[in-house]
């Protein structure tokens, strides 16, 4: 009986835990509740993924109102995969968060911090699980509003302006998405995604459908920080508390990319969205520029968190390049990179969180001799960096490999060159950190010593995952392939 209710519980458990957090309010109790809740969502998403692998997509209707009239959840391989990424990252990072948050946020605000965390988790899981276009917008707002709160809690005063900038841009994006959904509703009279997919082809050749499509795409592009709509992201990630940077960098943009995939492939269908509308070439150009431009900007950053944030913009470029190939191989590269990028950015930002805990800064100048002062933490950073570059035996290599294969299959040589140059630029910006940390002056009086185990172990776990999924690719590649096939086959 409980098995049939898993889709609802996936979202309800964190939603129930959030107000409980507000009632508990004590830092330790709220942290514990957050970890337990995240772990519970991880268990549920694992069960859901195995259930989908065994017996195909799961449908769930709310309140006994059958789709398309009520709100329905529909879980296929793509959702289940994204749910697993989000819940796993939330679990690992929330374990890390206790000491990091204790050091960076006042005790009186920590209750609100964990409440916002759980609401953000609710929203992200909700976006990934729902089969209803309007419900997706609601969850997007839940996750966005709570992430504005999370970012504003950063130590630096600039966190407030960064959060405000994100608030303005995010709200514009959400409004565009709402207008897009509204136009589709006006056209078809339904909000259920499967139902929309059935009714849209008949009315696809209308201005309303094209306008709705354009609003949706631009709105979601703002949310995924696709170049040139990425301006909110670097500051937001740079000034947020360390744990929040790790959590959001590894999940928020991934979920938005999932939403884009869902609308492009499942709702509109790839022939309309990528061939009738000239989106494939647009995505290819914007993706390429994002890779080159953001990697180049990353090289000149002095704040390492900001550098990684720009690197995230570049990685989003790779994700959209994968979509622009309009092939099963390209799509599976995108879905695979969602997973691998969450692992590498998670590891990198957690390593930075450990460093911030010890030396209280993320400035490159303070990294002198850090390779000897915090060997394990820098080891994690190094593995994450290698994975970001795409060195063989790391997870990053696997996703680059599939991207290159997809580009070759299509015969798009310029894109291939872009991918290679992007990787070389990543070598440069990772090397700058490595050079200072390992070859720089060893400062005698500088603070040294590892971060506590509760922070170091989650970071090491993600670093190991980078290597594990660089060698054992059955789960990541296997599911990504099947998911891409399912997306291409329509809903």
């Amino acid at each position: 009986m409980i098995g049939a209710q898993l889709p609802a519980l996936q979202v309800v458990i964190p939603l129930l835990a959030a107000p409980l957090c507000l009632l508990l309010y004590r830092p330790f109790a709220t942290w514990l509740l957050t970890v337990v809740t995240s772990a519970a969502t991880l268990v549920i998403s694992t069960l859901l993924l195995t259930q989908v692998l065994d017996s195909g997509p799961i449908d769930y209707t709310f309140g006994g109102w059958a789709a398309p009239f009520g709100i329905a959840y529909r879980i296929d391989l793509v959702n289940a995969y994204v749910l697993l990424i989000v819940s796993a990252i939330s679990t690992v990072v929330s374990v890390f968060a206790r000491l990091s948050v204790a050091a960076e946020i006042e005790a009186s605000n920590q209750g609100i911090f964990y409440t916002a965390w759980l609401l953000c988790l609710t929203g992200l899981l909700g976006i990934a699980i729902t089969g209803d276009a309007f419900n997706l917008f609601v969850f997007l707002e839940i996750s966005s509003l709570s992430s504005y709160v999370l970012i504003a809690m950063g130590q630096d005063r600039r966190a407030l302006t960064a959060s405000y900038q994100y608030l303005i841009m995010g709200t514009i994006g959400a409004t565009f998405i709402l207008i897009g959904v509204g136009l589709l509703y006006a056209l078809t009279g339904t909000l259920n995604m499967a139902d929309l997919a059935e009714r849209l082809p008949a009315v696809a050749d209308t201005r309303t459908a094209r306008a709705g499509f354009a609003f949706l795409t631009v709105g979601i592009a703002l949310k995924i920080a696709l170049f040139p709509l990425h301006l909110w992201l670097p500051n937001a990630y740079a000034y947020a508390p360390s744990a929040v940077s790790a959590f959001l960098a590894a999940t928020a943009t991934k979920v938005a990319v999932y939403a884009l995939l869902r609308f492009l492939f499942s709702v509109f269908g790839e022939s309309f969205s990528l061939e009738t509308m000239p989106l494939a070439h647009g995505l290819a150009v914007l993706g390429s520029v994002a890779v080159l431009f953001a990697s180049l900007v990353a090289i000149f950053q002095h704040n390492i968190k900001r550098m990684l944030a720009y690197s995230s913009v570049a990685q989003i470029g790779y994700l959209t390049l994968g979509i622009s190939f309009v092939s099963e191989l390209g799509l599976s590269a995108t879905i695979l990179h969602l997973f691998n990028h969450a692992l590498m950015k998670g590891a990198l930002f957690l390593a930075l969180g450990c460093i911030a805990w010890r030396i209280g800064s993320a400035r490159l100048g303070d990294f002198q001799g850090l390779g000897y002062r915090m060997p394990w933490t820098m080891g994690v950073f190094l593995i994450g960096g290698l994975s970001l570059i795409g060195i063989p035996t790391t997870a990053g290599f696997i996703s680059k490999w599939y991207l290159v294969l997809a580009a070759l299959e299509k015969g798009w040589w310029p894109v291939l060159v872009v991918i290679v140059i992007g990787s070389l630029l990543a070598v440069v910006y990772i090397w700058r950190v490595v050079e200072i940390a390992y070859l720089g002056k060893r400062l005698e009086e500088a603070p040294s010593g590892e971060a506590p185990l509760s922070m170091l172990l989650p970071a090491c776990l993600l670093a190991l995952a980078n290597i594990y999924f660089g060698i054992h690719t059955e789960l990541s590649v296997g599911v990504a392939h099947e998911a891409a096939k399912a997306l291409f086959g329509g809903l």
Partner: protein, 139 residues
């Protein structure tokens, strides 16, 4: 504005009516226009008027911040709690039919409780937002 007798007396007369009207919109939502969200906002305007006329300190002592926090959480908990109750009674999330002896009675009770949760949370949030802006320079 505490020293202006006209405002003070009018506010004292009007505030109970605002609150009653808020409750009317809340509980009459089944049969006419209304519902939890609107009712919550109307109910909160009574408190906001009180804060405007008698000062935010008076409003704060009428509803201390910890209580507001509990009310905000309580409304959402009531909403989700109804859903969990239907789950525990062996039906889908928020399938109200199982709540009452007859399906329509269950729907009635379910919607009533859920809307009450919405109203409670919305009014507490509105008051918190007002206090957040009005008391910006207070510690």
């Amino acid at each position: 504005m505490n020293d202006n007798p006209v405002l003070r007396i009018v506010a004292k007369i009007i505030i109970p009516m605002i609150l009653i009207f808020g409750l009317y919109v809340q509980f009459h939502g089944d049969f006419g226009p209304g519902g939890g969200f609107q009712a919550g906002v109307i109910f909160a305007t009574g408190f906001i008027l009180y804060g405007l006329v008698f000062g935010t300190d008076a409003l704060r002592s009428a509803i201390p911040a910890p209580i507001l926090r509990i009310v905000i959480a309580g409304g959402l908990l009531l909403y989700v709690g109804v859903g969990v109750a239907t789950l525990l009674m062996g039906s889908d999330f928020l399938a109200y039919n199982v709540l009452g002896s007859t399906p329509s009675g269950g729907q009635h009770l379910g919607i009533f409780l859920v809307e009450l949760g919405v109203g409670v949370t919305v009014s507490a949030v509105m008051i918190t937002v007002f206090l957040g802006f009005a008391g910006r320079n207070d510690p």
